[in-house]
Subunit: 103 residues, 2 copies
């Protein structure tokens, strides 16, 4: 499948993602170090859930899901655009930028 | 909309997500601290892109997108299930678990 993709090294997104991929292993180590701080809380909560819910609960799955959710929510630190916070002016600016994408 | 939602405090996912939400601000601080380590690389790359690409490049947007992508890829540290690595036995186990969800 990859052979059919035209990879442009001048595409800004592609260039940035190449760097992201290079940094990812180191970044992952740092992320794991952060999660080790919180693991005891998630583990305790998962154990409680297992005690309180009569069905069989897979605590490992629950903890991993919580970790994925934490990463998903952390994306809000890097919002896609300032539209949410800004007024109509920014919306117009954004619409103009979208037009330029097709020119 | 929220008033129409039945929030079950015995739902394992809900219980875990309540904890996740409580920890999120502290977690976000730690994530930002990690990204500060990598910001100089992303910033340098974005500046290069801006120089090499003749169009107007919004470096801030590029950096934020790279950060979101790094978080997305970090989710692979916490895989949803062991199906990818495991053989047919795990797939059967998983199918059985899915059946139980509907019982």
């Amino acid at each position: 499948r990859r052979s059919h993709m035209a990879v442009s090294y001048t595409d800004p997104q592609v260039s940035m993602d190449l760097l992201r991929a290079v940094l990812q292993p180191s970044f992952n180590d740092d992320i794991m170090a952060v999660f080790r701080k919180y693991h005891k809380f998630f583990d305790k909560a998962a154990q409680n859930v297992k005690e309180n819910v009569s069905e069989e609960v897979q605590t490992d799955q629950l903890i991993r899901e919580a970790c994925r959710n934490a990463l998903e929510h952390a994306k809000q630190l890097f919002p896609e655009a300032e539209v949410k916070r800004a007024g109509p002016e920014a919306a117009i600016k954004r619409a103009r930028a979208a037009d330029e994408d097709y020119s």
